[in-house]
């Protein structure tokens, strides 16, 4: 019973985040449009989240018995077939079959396969008149061949590109007209691809009137710090209960397996079991291996991004003078640090002498590795 409820819960939460389409929406989406575009652009996400949840083994999850990739028929997002998010620069040219001599066209344009010209947003260039290229006996230039190829592949929709090709002007990406205020840039050399990453969400969903702009005025680094703090805090909480250790061992073995067969080279790419970065970090710490022996590349970022080491340091650093180690030890003895936690809200807490009565609501709790949910809970304790 509880497991079923938990499955519903997961479905609904996922659905609300636009990561999975499960029937009719029960909770109306009030999120910002641009944000949805970004999340929807990340096609790989639900499975990652689901994989992690399955790894926790707290409930029999809807996708567990048949681990088939979930087919999303979200009509607003093109290129459903691609497991790799279209934001990756590596697949920028895979959609078109343009010949090599074609001048580089920015990748966003060919992705608009489902939206014809009339539904273009205002910022997109209006469909330009172009001359349908035809082979009229004269020797064709590479440009003509490219234009013809485009026309054959995409017909009317390729109009703007062909027109630009014929006018021989480098296409100015419409998004770049906005002043490039500096969003957080992870690595120096990714600066060129970053603008493409930023521009995609707006281009993938052209019907959004106000696409996600990168011109935020608050400091992006602040947000990252906020995230790092939140992550560190959660990690510290999670570290307090030790059920992770079993899974860590399993992940360790899986990591060893990865090494043995060349990191999964013998498998199809989509069948590969790629260990999560956080898990590989933990495994590395556990095994005392250097980062060089793992396929993880997250070490490149240095230490400022919520590394596990940082968490420990932070714990020591914050209020280190005020923290009372005796108190912590006492908590340890009391068993405050248990992974059997109930998170809920209370309506009423009453006490008569040493008898306590609690009326609880909306709880999630974990007992013996199984997670349960309840709507109403009544607890009676003796102190």
């Amino acid at each position: 019973m509880h497991c079923a409820a938990y499955g519903i819960l997961l479905d609904l939460v996922s659905e609300n985040l636009q990561w999975q389409v499960v029937g009719a929406s029960a909770v109306s989406g009030r999120r910002e449009e641009g944000e949805r575009a970004t999340v929807a652009g990340e096609r790989g996400d639900p499975r990652e989240w689901q994989k992690k949840l399955s790894g926790l083994k707290v409930a029999q999850l809807p996708w567990d018995p048949a681990p088939v990739p979930i087919i999303k028929d979200q009509p607003t997002v093109p290129s459903n077939a691609k497991p790799i998010p279209p934001t990756l620069p590596s697949n920028g040219n895979t959609v078109t079959s343009t010949p090599p001599p074609q001048p580089p066209i920015p990748s966003p344009a060919p992705i608009k396969t489902e939206n014809n010209a009339p539904s273009y947003p205002p910022q997109a260039p209006p469909p330009q008149q172009y001359q349908v290229p035809s082979f009229n006996g004269e020797p064709m230039t590479a440009r003509d061949r490219a234009a013809m190829n485009l026309h054959q592949s995409f017909g009317q929709r390729a109009g703007p590109q062909i027109a630009q090709l014929q006018s021989n002007q480098p296409r100015a990406p419409s998004q770049l007209s906005a002043p490039p205020t500096g969003p957080y840039i992870k690595q120096e050399d990714s600066a060129s691809t970053f603008s493409a990453v930023q521009d995609h969400p707006a281009d993938v969903k052209p019907q959004i009137p106000t696409p996600l702009q990168s011109n935020q005025t608050d400091g992006a680094d602040d947000a990252r710090d906020t995230w790092a703090t939140e992550y560190a805090r959660r990690k510290a909480l999670a570290a307090a209960h030790g059920a992770e250790n079993d899974r860590l061992m399993r992940a360790y073995f899986e990591a060893r397996q990865q090494e043995l067969e060349g990191g999964g080279l013998l498998l199809n790419l989509d069948e590969r079991n790629i260990p999560s970065k956080s898990m590989s970090r933990k495994v590395n710490d556990l095994a005392g291996m250097g980062p060089s022996t793992t396929p993880s590349i997250t070490r490149v970022q240095g230490d400022a991004t919520g590394d596990d080491d940082d968490d420990i340091d932070d714990e020591d650093a914050i209020n280190s003078d005020l923290d009372d180690p005796d108190e912590l030890a006492a908590n340890e003895e009391d068993g405050e640090n248990t992974d059997q936690v109930m998170l809920c809200t209370y309506d009423k807490v009453q006490r008569v002498k040493n008898k306590w009565k609690c009326t609880l609501k909306d709880g999630i709790f974990r007992v013996d590795g199984t997670e349960y949910v309840f709507h109403k809970g009544q607890g009676e304790f003796e102190w």
Partner: protein, 112 residues
């Protein structure tokens, strides 16, 4: 967050919340989403899970145990209960030697 109603961040500590946080962290480290978006996703998670628990979950639960520690701070009750016997409305029974209960006020500050 900007919504009129506020939601507890309490449920981020559940399995589903932790899994989400881990996933988002991977995405951030891969440079696939922005940290600002991550915080918004978590805010959405707070709302979604609270609404879902309130609207979709019907099960009831009673439990008894030996109260070891109680604490009331900042409108949050924390109980450490030992030898807990749970009974669900479906007749299912199970027990735990030790459960920590963290409980926020069901009436949020603005509502009362």
């Amino acid at each position: 967050m900007a919504a009129s109603q506020q939601y507890y961040e309490l449920y981020r500590g559940s399995s589903i919340g932790e899994a989400l946080i881990d996933t988002i962290d991977d995405l951030i480290n891969d440079g696939r989403i922005e940290p600002q978006l991550a915080m918004k996703i978590l805010a959405n998670f707070d709302r979604a899970i609270a609404d879902t628990l309130a609207e979709k979950v019907k099960s009831r639960l009673t439990f008894k145990g030996h109260l070891e520690t109680y604490r009331f701070c900042d409108d949050v009750w924390t109980f450490l209960v030992k030898d807990v016997r749970f009974k669900s409305d479906g007749g299912q029974e199970f027990q735990a030697d030790k459960v920590k209960i963290v409980s926020c006020n069901s009436k949020k500050p603005g509502e009362a």
